[in-house]
Every structure is written in C-alpha cells, then in structure tokens.
C-alpha cells in the first residue's frame, strides 16, 4: 500500500483513498442512501420487536402460521431485535466505509503534487 500514492494511511491512522470525482459522487450519494435505508429498516425491526401490533411482526407471525409453525412471542422478539441491530451496524458500516474515499481534487495535506 505504501507505494501507491493514492491510497494511504494518513496522519491520524485512518485509511484514505483518492478516487476520480465521478466515482466519488456515486460513493457519496449511494452510501448515504443505503445507510439511511438500513437505519430506517433497523427501526422498523425494533418496532416489530417491541410493538405487538407492528405490521411486520404480524406478517412474519402469519407467514409462520401458513406453513404450520407457531413461534412464541419471546423468540420472535429476540430475532427481530437481533436483525434490527444487524441492520443498524450494516448502515453505520456502509457510511463509515464511504468516508475513507475522497476525490483527487479535494486535496489532502499530503501527496498534493503527485496526484493525477
């Protein structure tokens, strides 16, 4: 990595990858969008875990019913909560990962001269 002038572990130990402007725009727009969607889904899941009349909870319970299974309230709650946390972590992860990219034009204290 050290010999690639465009990707670098910068001063504060954070990895930093320079990308073309066009790609940078896609990263910003889509990572933000995905992060928002995942966080919203996480809260839908938390609702399903904690709210008896949640729509999602009803649908899942009925779906189990259709195939002849009846799941208890407690396991359902735990499952929804875990999925919710997974979504929350995924959303944050997507956003955090997006923050290591920057456009070449955006500059950075180091390597200013050597960039395309």
């Amino acid at each position: 990595m050290a010999d690639d002038p465009n990707s670098d572990v910068n001063g504060n130990g954070r990895r930093d990858v320079a990308v073309p402007m066009e790609l940078y725009k896609s990263i910003t727009v889509f990572s933000t969008l995905l992060a928002v969607v995942f966080v919203l889904l996480a809260f839908v899941m938390f609702d399903a875990a904690t709210l008896g009349r949640s729509f999602v909870r009803g649908v899942v319970r009925d779906a189990f019913g259709v195939v002849g299974l009846s799941v208890g309230g407690q396991p359902l709650t735990i499952a929804f909560a875990l999925v919710g946390f997974a979504f929350l972590v995924t959303g944050s992860g997507i956003y955090i990962l997006g923050s290591r990219f920057r456009a070449t034009e955006m500059g950075n204290a180091k390597h200013e001269a050597g960039e395309e």
């Binding site: 010999d3 690639d4 990707s7 990308v19 790609l23 725009k25 896609s26 727009v29 889509f30 990962l97």
Partner: protein
C-alpha cells in the same frame, strides 16, 4: 437537457491498478453497479445545474446591487416565517377537521359529573387510535402558529417592510394576529376542563370590565354573564365555523397582496 450518459470512466481498469482491500473492491463494485442502474447522481447534477441557471436569471436585488448581502444575509431565513405561519395553519386545519369527527361541544352532565365535551376529549386521548397524536398535533401546530405569526411580525417590523406601499398589508396583519389569538382562546375553552372553565371565567370578567359596551359584549361572545352551555357552543362555532372562513380569506388576501407588490427590499 438530456440524460445522455457521459463517456464512461474505466472504473474496472482503474480499480485493478489501485491497491484496494477486498472489502473496498466489493464496496466500490456494489456502489458502481447501483450507480449504473439507478443514475441518481446524473439527476442530482441536472438539478444542481438548473439551480444555478435559474439563479443566474434573477435580477439583482437591492442588497446585491449595493453589496449589502454580507451585512444582511442572516435576516433571510426569517423571511420564511410567513410561510411557516401558513404551514402551521394548514396543519392545524387538517388535524382540527379530523378531531371534529370525535369532539362534541356539549356541556351537559355538569355539576359533578364530567361533561360530554370533556368525555370526548378523554376518549380521543385514551381510546381513539392515533387520537393522542392527533390532538397533540393540533395543539402544537396552534402554538407554533402563534409564535411564527408573532416572529413574522417582528421580521416585517425590523426590515421596515411595513412602509409605503405596504401599510395596508400591515393592518391586515394586525387583523390576522388578532384572529390567530381568538382562534387560540376559543380552542382553549373547548375541552371544558378546569383550565378551560376558568379561562372562560376570566374572559367574561374582562368583557364585563369594559365600560358601556361590556355587558353587551359578554352577552354576544359568551352568551351570558356566567359560563353555561351557551358559552361552549359559541366558542365551538367561532372556532370551527366563523374563524376558519374569515382567517382563510384574510390570509389569502394578505398573501395575494404580497404576490402583487413583491417582497419588500430591506430599508
């Protein structure tokens, strides 16, 4: 304006020559896949372009001509307060119309037992699905409207926007802030709880304290010198019939005049 795709950057080739971790490669590949299909970035760029083009066509305002923007810019958000009042009014109207399906203005059942009006409020708050939300929305939007209207008035005053030729709109504004407050007062009495009842008592006594016309005014507005069913019924019909028609009309005239005259340059 067309959405011709721009010459594609060779992302794949670019990625190969770069030293990316596996996570980064997958990440970028997924985002690029999405970008190629959904093209949101292209549309955002069109909007950005449009924004600048539209702005370029605007005539220079007084503040720009005399280079006052650097001193005046922090007033600009306050020009939104009139629209903010309007939005609060619309929210209050819609939530109020929905509350109207459940509330009834009857003071029957008084002396000890709760009144019909109060029982309907209790029903909305405890039994009706989303009732708590609906009533809260109505109360909050009403409070926000009072605050926004008042701050809007301050904005108009401190930017000197009341001056010629806008005196008429200032006077209409006085009427509007009065209507807003009467809206608030009549609505406050509708739950017919202790708060409402004693606020009504204060109103009657204030009316009665007026010389000469006092008794007549108390009769007209409160339907008597003590609070009865007639009082509640008057408050109700003022709140849900008279005031909505009057206030909506006056707001329309007020905004119509702003439209005709254009917004005032700061004085």
């Amino acid at each position: 304006m067309s959405l011709e795709r721009k010459d594609d950057h060779d992302h794949k080739g670019w990625m190969k020559e770069r030293d990316l971790t596996p996570v980064e490669s997958v990440y970028l590949t997924v985002l690029m896949w999405l970008d190629k299909r959904l093209r949101i970035v292209d549309y955002l760029e069109i909007l950005e372009d449009l924004y600048y083009k539209v702005n370029m066509q605007m005539p220079k305002s007084h503040t720009e001509q005399y280079n006052l923007d650097n001193k005046f810019w922090y007033w600009y958000p306050l020009y939104a307060l009139g629209s903010f009042s309007t939005i609060a009014y619309v929210v209050a109207s819609v939530s109020g119309a929905l509350l109207g399906f459940y509330y009834s203005p009857a003071a029957a059942g008084a002396s000890g037992s709760p009144t019909v009006a109060y029982e309907q409020i209790t029903f909305i708050m405890t039994d009706l699905n989303l009732g708590f939300f609906l009533r809260s929305l109505h109360r909050w939007s009403a409070q926000v409207m009072v605050a926004a209207v008042f701050l809007h008035m301050l904005r108009v005053y401190f930017t000197g926007a009341y001056k010629e030729p806008r005196e008429l709109n200032w006077i209409i504004g006085i009427v509007l802030i009065s209507l807003t407050m009467v809206f608030g007062y009549t609505g406050y009495l509708l739950p017919w709880d202790q708060l409402a009842f004693w606020a009504g008592q204060i109103g009657v006594e204030m009316a009665l304290s007026v010389p000469v016309a006092g008794e007549w005014a108390a009769q007209l507005v409160f339907g008597g010198f003590t609070l009865t069913h007639a009082t509640l019924q008057r408050m109700y019909i003022l709140h849900v019939f008279f005031l909505p028609f009057i206030a909506t009309t006056v707001i329309a005239i007020h905004i119509g005049i702003v439209w005709m005259q254009g917004i005032a340059e700061p004085h």
